[in-house]
């Protein structure tokens, strides 16, 4: 009964068959530390701050466009070319339309200290250079050589195909407000951080203080289908006129984000929207 024994073995073997499952380890590759402070940025313009013995370079992720431009001023000693790590910068954008002039909202660098000579700041260009000439003046106080001077930077601003800046007049106080879309920069299907900044036009367009008093509500809409998306977070004010929330896209295609602005509970505007393409 040799056969019988081997069959018992098959029985045993088949009964003790076990399963193992392997779990894959997904260790993300270590990201290299960037040595170049301007890595990922493009040099847009450069000018000399006369009297401060300082060269001002403007770096950004993209060329100048109508809307909120995050800029990085790279200060260098005009003789040695070394990075200037301690300087105060005051911006002053100006649009010359021939018959009239106006300024634009801006954000000066928060600190006078920079470990690599790069000073983050921002300017909201309200229109393209088709309407006139943009100049960005930067007054530099170089604390390393105790000299000061102004650089006058020529700026060429282009309109984007999907505008990232909108303006409206509040029905509550008749003021002109500018809303700039900062995030999402590159929208994706799923959850996206949403950030806008709001500025108020004052003094014939010479001053644009940040607005922090509004309540902002959003609702994304897929126009061609008439549906929205769930679980969006209304942006709330976090400082300097910046409102942060999140927006969800359930599919790729043409979306718009509809905004409602409320002033003390009263609707100040509800016709503002941004168009976005979700690839």
């Amino acid at each position: 009964m040799k056969n019988k024994i081997s069959q018992y073995l098959i029985l045993l073997l088949s009964l003790t068959l076990t399963f193992t499952a392997c779990k894959k380890d997904d260790d993300p590759a270590p990201t290299p530390i960037a040595a170049d402070p301007t890595a990922g940025l493009t040099l847009l313009s450069e000018a000399y701050a006369l009297g401060a013995s300082t060269k001002v370079e403007v770096w950004a992720k993209a060329s100048y466009f109508t809307g909120y431009n995050k800029l990085y001023l790279f200060l260098k000693d005009s003789v040695s070319g070394a990075a200037v790590k301690n300087a105060a910068i005051v911006l002053h954008p100006m649009m010359d339309m021939g018959t009239m002039m106006h300024s634009a909202p801006f954000e000066n660098p928060v600190s006078t200290m920079s470990s690599d000579g790069l000073y983050p700041c921002a300017v909201v260009f309200l229109m393209s250079s088709m309407a006139g000439t943009w100049t960005l003046d930067a007054t530099i106080t170089n604390n390393e050589n105790s000299l000061a001077g102004m650089a006058s930077i020529q700026v060429s601003v282009a309109d984007l195909s999907e505008s990232r800046i909108k303006s409206f007049i509040t029905s509550t106080s008749n003021e002109t407000l500018f809303v700039s879309l900062i995030k999402p920069e590159a929208p994706v299907v799923g959850m996206n951080d949403l950030e806008v900044v709001i500025h108020k036009r004052m003094n014939m367009g010479m001053e644009f203080p940040a607005d922090s008093n509004l309540t902002v509500e959003i609702s994304p809409l897929m126009v061609s289908m008439g549906h929205g998306s769930p679980n969006n977070v209304n942006p709330v004010h976090t400082g300097m006129g910046h409102y942060i929330g999140s927006v969800n896209y359930t599919m790729s295609g043409d979306w718009q984000i509809n905004f409602t602005f409320k002033d003390n509970g009263t609707v100040a505007n509800s016709s503002t929207f941004f168009e976005t393409i979700v690839p």
Binding site: K4, S14, V188, P230, D254
Partner: protein, 677 residues
Amino acid sequence: MKKFPVVLFALACYTFLSLETLNAQCINGCSHDSTWTICLAEVKVSPDAGSGDPVHNFYRPNKSFTTEDILSRVPALSITRRSSFGQEPGIRGLSGSRMNVTLDGMKLFGACTDKMDPVTIYVEPQNLESFTVETGSCGAEHGSTFGGSLNMKLKESFFSDDNSIHGLLGSTFHSVSNSVFSFAGLDITNKRLAAKLNGVYRKSNNYKSGDRSTVPFSGYEKNNFSASLKYLLTQNQTLKFDYLTDNGFKIGFPALTMDVRYAHAQIGSLTWKYENSESLLTEAEVKVYTNAIKHMMDDRDRSGLLMHMDMPGSSKTNGATANFKFSLSKNLDLIHKVDYFSNTLFAEMFMYPEGGRTMYMLTLPETKRQVGGLYLSPVWRVDSLNKITFGARWDFAHTGMSDQLGLSQLRIFYPQTDSSYYTNVRSLFLDYERRLGKKFVASVQVGWSERLPSTLEMFGFYLYNRLDGYDYIGNPNIKNETATQYSFSLHYEESHLSIALSPFLTKINHYIEGIKDENLSAMTEGANGVKLYDNTGSAVLKGGELTIKYVSSGALSLMSTGKYVHGERSKGEPMWQIPPFKSVTSVKFRKGLYSVQGETECSATQNRVDLSSGETTTDSYVIFNIRLTALWMLGSRSFEINGGVENITNKFYHEHLDWGGIPRPGRNYYVTLAFRF
């Protein structure tokens, strides 16, 4: 001339045989002994049993019956109809992932997110040997389930002592839809090799309903080809290779907003089989298999739409099974099965707005599910009156969805969505059978089972359900559904008459259904809103089947089946999509090689509907069919004409599970010519 006496003999003693075959229905499942007793929780149908078999004529009275037509006549089975082809089977009110559908034990999963391709569409009765329906947990042999199992067995080929070639050719025409169904088969066999080829072609135009109007988008076209090659290794070992391909085109779905552009399936398997009734290991079967399904749903033929959409989907399955049957002692058998499969599903949606950018969504991000399982079932024949069968299955499942876009989509709803889920799934059943006197056999089954949530229930994204008009979103954190089951069976049998009654009760816990979320807006145009899948309370299903067979010693035979299911959710509300009482009765009169068969199909009114889901009531109906068959023997060849009228009274009706109340076909004249050689 060789075959002639054999056929005659079969016809002469079919009275005797038919009851015999009814008794010999058990292969596996609750009752395992095919000669000792009948299997009460199992109905086995041979679609192509010998001519003159009343069972054959009851389930497949018309040669052009599709797989789903045959299934709709099986007790305990019901069919959800969204189209004239592509209907979904359900066992005792439970369908989809609540039941197993396998082909020769192979797992297959439809590729359509809208259930337009239940896998039964990819096989033809022509290439099947049998269906085995095991109800409830007794179906656990094919995977953990409480709904039951439907296993379709591919046609077996047999070796012959001399080289022989046999074949079959035929064609059917239906007047109601101007449809043609053609089939051909070829068997080439010798002592060691058996080859089988089968081909089927169907082309159906839009059919006319009982009010003589044409039902738009009800036509379809398909072809099916299968080949098998069996080789005798030794006296008790065989190796078999099977290949099947099925290709459907322009399958209309009148009850839905989209149609199927194409549905392609390719199925292949290699099986080693061992049989030795003398040894401890009486049977062994090891199979490796693979199948791939490609499916495309679109609305290119529909007009008046906001925009056109394409919804392609694919399903790929690889797997292996190993079955062993041990005869441990004279009274004790052990059935043991080890199986593994991996299924990858993927479905996407493209929307083309006029003048706008194409929109894209993953309706089911690529999901890979791997399941390994162990099944053990001892069968103990205690004495000549008592038999106890126990069955247990343990499945270990891994479900992975690591598509970044899919994860981003789902994290809108479930920020914690993971890309990997491990689940244990278990099934248990106990079957006690007792012979009560000479003519009665009674049995009781008790079962407890879990089932895995489907990947659509976990990761589906805005899947529109036309029935309630809601977009459905999956829930990755969903738990297994569980169910406790009780069923009873009483069988009476004497020489001419057999009656079987089998009531059941199933209680489902952690019942999975869509829950309305008022805060969400629908994606689909005109939809009522969005539902998210979740485990809710419980649901109770009860009902039963009655089968009566009478075979006179003369020319008359009768078969009648009745089935009923009552479904209730925890709050006492009726479950949706529960079929009302339905009965099919067939009377056949045979004289020599000619026969006449009269049939009546009736269904009760369904008033128990889920109003909150927009389900509506359905009226009762009765329809009548008549069929005539004539057979001529020409030496070893035979020629058969089969014709008849279906829905003689041209009744305008639909069944409760017919979506959208789309009317069924009206009066249909059909004729089949078949030639065997």
